[in-house]
Symmetry: C2
Subunit: 434 residues, 2 copies
């Protein structure tokens, strides 16, 4: 019998603030970081997972992951891999740890890191990438991944079974199409707020040359700047490329309404995070006022309960799930089922480090086995830090190609983890470890 | 000039699980704990604050508080005390730390602990208890305590000024009445789920003898048990004492509706936490279905944005703010203003350790300077662990007597902190340090 013998945690940070990569109206100087978890067993591959943070506090995020070791170490590996839903529910059910959320913030992301590590472990043991592991499960197995508490007023297990069964016949055909065509992507690489107009224009042109037909710009710090930068981007990409905008929670509801009225002339494809991610009713009010502009949020949405309400309140047109904000793959299956029930397309969030690698699995599983559609859907892409991953994303003409290697995509190369270990890795010395 | 010279943190835990004190349907075995923060200056009293947790993870909560030291140490003490709203907003604005919430969970409670320590410091330096410090501020000063971001669709600073000015003329008279009569309280001491029927009945009778006219029972683990325990309690207290019930988030919305239909015959004064504290729309649905039963929540409500929506959606009849879940006194001023605007009474949460000591200040300030009313209002009371506090609550005939000593009430005696320091304090040895 195989046992999980350890859960170890590493504080890995990349000094991205040096170049203002990732800068937006709320986050001027992020250092993209991973509170990194490794599950080791006594007989096979390790499982890797992490919580994504932007620097300070990554050590505390690591410590929160460490609290889960006593719930994990010593478990029967096969039993964990055979019941990933139950595993996730057990980690969430520790009442003393639950108090620290409940199901939100640092403690919830810690559970997400460990649950994702277990998914990485299970998929490596199965010899499959996570999207294929998920896409090969029966509707009953998929429904059993979900923690149904707090969901049944919007979606019942029986309704979810119905959705999944309806999508079952087309799985093979959609898998084949995915292998041929890849999955649509959009890019945020040109749009960081810290870039000057020239860099913005150059990167926007490069994005189009790379095959993207949707790019995203950060907005919300200064209205006149936003108007100028939108004009610069439009000039650079021409009339046929879609431009979305992202305010990173900068506004109160009345401010958002006012600001968006001014940005309307640029016909943004969507407005992302116009206000607090907690504000379901606020998003609904903004959506009504800004119609027909699409409203998007999700990268900071703490759990399935807020996603449920965003859908119930008709507050969003675009659902941007995040791979490490919630309790991992298991909770994201719930989010995908909710989105499918309400007919809202999913555009996964993937700025940050490793998020592209992770969320592609969720979007591809959604296409194969849940929503059955790639129409009006797109995975965020940022050309950044992929070289540190054991299985980096593969892009072709603005689309993600399905990963073939076993695992979840979370594994960061050991050399990169060593180099960017905080605070003593050589990547943190004055010369960047050059 | 005075400087803040240190922010130190202590992991203090009380082994309450040994007696099943505090046991409910979601939290069977809490060890009431404080992630305890002390601000020291170079010229006067220390400021004390803490985040309340129920055991495991209190060390990580302490570490999160420690992250704030670099934002606090070295500051001008008088400047902090003169602008407690600005201080709170600055702690919340650190973008890298904000990512770990935002404004929720461990990181937000950490800010709350430090903000409350600053309030303790400011009130000790002013020689006033916090409720009197607050009640002596001008409407303009009070409005400036609030972080208005995300609130203005429900309440504007001008509206808040109007509310506060309208309450200004009666402040002196209400202060005098408070000194004479105290503030109404209700008690949860009889109702913990781990107590047998005999202990429940005995404690319920004692509560009535002590002058309480409202008691609260934990429910939600087993319907037949709940029905039996409600009958036992009713038999013990007679027909004139109100009985509230508390499900501690146990139910999904449809379950809550069904369960409450069965408990209706006992005419509970309110149902507390019927479902997830994140579920604004769920609470609204439960309230519509269970009417005229009052719906209450708040002890786990993460911040002012969720409280705003609970009020906007007419989801609650009773708002149960918590002293350490949100970002301290400053954010709770926002919550009190929102409650006053929407005309919803506040019943502060005060199970746990030290919460009675803290929340009484908020309720009394609300009476003197915000809502101006004690009608249909009550502070939770649990007769538990008060002996560890420098300024323990004083009760008379089921009412809180206004604290006279300077400070916020947060200060735990040094000897108690030493004895229950986790894991090496003598209170954690097998014999409880006897």
């Amino acid at each position: 019998m195989s046992r999980i013998v350890s859960l170890t945690v590493e504080d890995v940070r990349f000094p991205t603030s040096r170049e203002l990569d990732g800068s937006d109206a709320m986050n001027p100087d992020p250092d993209y970081s991973a509170a990194y978890a490794v599950l080791r067993t006594d007989d096979g591959p390790d499982g890797h997972g992490f919580a994504f943070t932007i620097g300070r506090g990554n050590d505390v995020q690591c410590a929160a992951i460490g609290l889960l070791a006593e719930l994990v170490v010593g478990r029967d590996t096969e039993a964990v891999c055979a019941d990933l839903g139950g595993f996730s529910r057990e980690l969430l059910a520790d009442s003393q740890l639950r108090w620290l959320g409940p199901e939100k913030g640092i403690m919830h992301m810690a559970v997400g890191a460990v649950v994702n590590a277990a998914w990485d472990l299970a998929s490596k043991r199965a010899g499959l990438p996570v999207w294929r592991l998920l896409s090969g499960m029966t509707p009953e197995q998929l429904v059993d991944l979900v923690d149904w508490r707090y969901l049944t007023d919007a979606l019942t297990p029986d309704e979810a079974l119905g959705l999944l069964r309806a999508a079952e016949p087309g799985r093979a055909e959609r898998t084949a199409r995915l292998e041929r065509e890849g999955y649509p992507a959009y890019t945020t690489s040109p749009g960081w707020l810290g870039y000057d107009d020239e860099k913005l224009a150059r990167l926007a042109r490069e994005a189009v040359a790379d095959g993207f037909d949707l790019i995203k710009l950060k907005v919300g710090a200064d209205l006149e700047d936003d108007i100028r930068r939108l004009a610069v981007a439009r000039e650079a990409v021409g009339p046929d490329i879609r431009i979305a905008v992202d305010a990173n929670q900068r506004w109160s509801v009345p401010e958002a309404v006012e600001w968006l009225a001014r940005l309307k002339e640029f016909d943004p494809w969507f407005i992302e995070e116009p206000t607090s991610p907690d504000d379901v009713l606020g998003h609904a009010a903004i959506r009504r006022a800004a119609a027909p502009m699409r409203v998007a949020t999700g990268e900071h949405v703490q759990n399935r309960v807020i996603f449920k309400q965003l859908l119930q309140a008709e507050a969003i047109d675009v659902l941007q799930l995040d791979a490490t904000r919630v309790a991992g793959v298991s909770e994201n299956v719930a989010v995908l089922l909710l989105a499918a029930k309400f007919g809202v397309p999913v555009y996964p969030h993937a700025g940050g480090v490793g998020l592209c690698e992770l969320v592609q699995h969720l979007a591809m599983f959604d296409y194969v086995a849940v929503s059955g559609s790639m129409a009006e859907r797109s995975i965020e892409y940022v050309d950044h830090l992929h070289e540190h991953f054991a299985v980096p994303v593969r892009m072709r003409a603005g689309r993600y190609l399905p990963p073939a290697a076993p695992g979840s995509g979370a594994e960061i190369l050991e050399e990169s983890r060593r180099r960017f270990r905080y605070p003593d890795g050589p990547g943190w010395s004055a010369d960047g470890g050059a």
